[in-house]
């Protein structure tokens, strides 16, 4: 129980800090809207073919906007040497990592839940029809993204070209999860249920999340403590 209390304290601290400054979440939201608008220049927003690939478009927006939140996750601790303080605190690296990952998850999910209705209006897709299933897919994809992203954020916090390295590292690892999320979201956003032959992608996403959460929790101490 102590562990989860520590996780909660770290997550609450991160959320509080972010909600006070709103630096990551504002830029992330603005960026998501800009990409949504740019996509409508590239593809006819009301054509049927665009609806078919709407899942892919949506996840590209989420991945790009999510990076802005994830980039700040550890970089926020750099001023005043807060990171050293956190590492020296009497909590395990795993608790610190999980707390940060939870905070990032909520922030990224928040950005997604704001941009989803905007997407629905712009591209006129019936995204509310399968909303519970859509929420499950969003949650699974976002958790995978935040776990890998938070590890990358910890890896890149002290190195050169931090802002550039995080997406370069994160996206290739996310290929399987994003591929599954895109396939499933394309169906759900258009109001169709998940086809039986696509259920494999759901299992793949669950597997991805479980594997990377476990490995990150096991290895994060090696990253944080020298």
């Amino acid at each position: 129980m102590r562990f989860f209390h520590q996780v909660w304290v770290v997550a609450a601290k991160d959320l509080r800090a972010e909600l006070r400054t709103k630096e990551a979440i504002n830029s992330s939201l603005a960026f998501a809207l800009v990409i949504l608008l740019m996509f409508s220049f590239a593809f006819d927003p009301l054509a049927d073919t665009t609806r078919e690939m709407s899942g892919g478009l949506l996840w590209i927006v989420f991945a790009f906007a999510g990076t802005l939140v994830l980039n700040r996750s550890f970089a926020r601790e750099l001023p005043n040497d807060c990171l050293d303080g956190l590492i020296a605190a009497p909590i395990s690296g795993a608790a610190l990592f999980l707390g940060k990952a939870c905070a990032n998850f909520l922030l990224v999910l928040g950005v997604q839940l704001v941009s989803l209705p905007v997407f629905g209006v712009f591209y006129s897709v019936p995204w509310t029809r399968q909303f519970p299933e859509l929420l499950v897919v969003l949650g699974l994809g976002t958790w995978g993204m935040t776990v890998v992203g938070t590890v990358s954020s910890a890896l890149t916090v002290n190195i050169r070209l931090r802002e550039l390295m995080l997406p370069m590292l994160t996206y290739p690892i996310l290929f399987p999860a994003l591929l599954g999320a895109m396939e499933l979201t394309a169906e759900l956003v258009n109001g169709n249920p998940i086809a039986p032959d696509k259920l494999g992608f759901l299992k793949l996403m669950i597997g991805f999340d479980v594997i990377y959460t476990a490995v990150s929790l096991a290895l994060v101490e090696t990253i944080l403590v020298s």
């Binding site: 590890v151 890896l155 399987p176």
Partner: protein
Amino acid sequence: MREKVLYALGIAAILLMAYNLRAIAALPLDPPLGPAAIIMPPVAKLVFFYYAAGGVAIAAGIASAIAGLRFLRTRDFRYDALAVASTEVGLVFLAIHIVTGCLGTRTVYGPSWAWEPRLTTALACGLLYATYLMLRSAVEEPAQRARFAAVWSVFIFLNLPMLAVAINWWRANNRRTLFWRGGSDYIAAWLPSILGTMLAMILLGVLLTAVRMRQEETRRELDTLRRMTHAL
């Protein structure tokens, strides 16, 4: 001693490769077993390099992940050198694999990149290996670089099966037999050369890894010396 082993390896690889190239050039292109509908285009002979390079690339990826784990366990920098050397060699062979496969699909099927699942997986795998090298080049402090790289090589290795499965499902009805459209008649006759090329490429891969490893060790030694002179 190590020098001599490396030279011997290099000579063996070159001789074996030369022998194989001669054998491959001499192989007839029409099917060995009676008349078949299709005669192979000459580019089909790239199949030897396609398979061999793919095999070496997979082996290099596994070696890199194991070396990464061993480094985390022992903190011995020789494993770090092995991990980076095998990843770089793996990337080179992956490039050979992708280019030969791409030429094969283009000649047999038409489009310059057919999104064939195995080749697409190989491409994504190459991008993953590249992230490892990029991460290494961005971290300056050697101990930190080795730790981060080891963690990342585990991340990459765990990703490969999921990547293969996901891309396979995504392109399920696009799976094509690269090179072998004429049927499997060729395989039996061409197998000795395939295995021979694979052996030559494995030797070459081991040689390149050993040379790259030595380079990495020398670099670390130089780094240490530089630090010592700074301290003085």
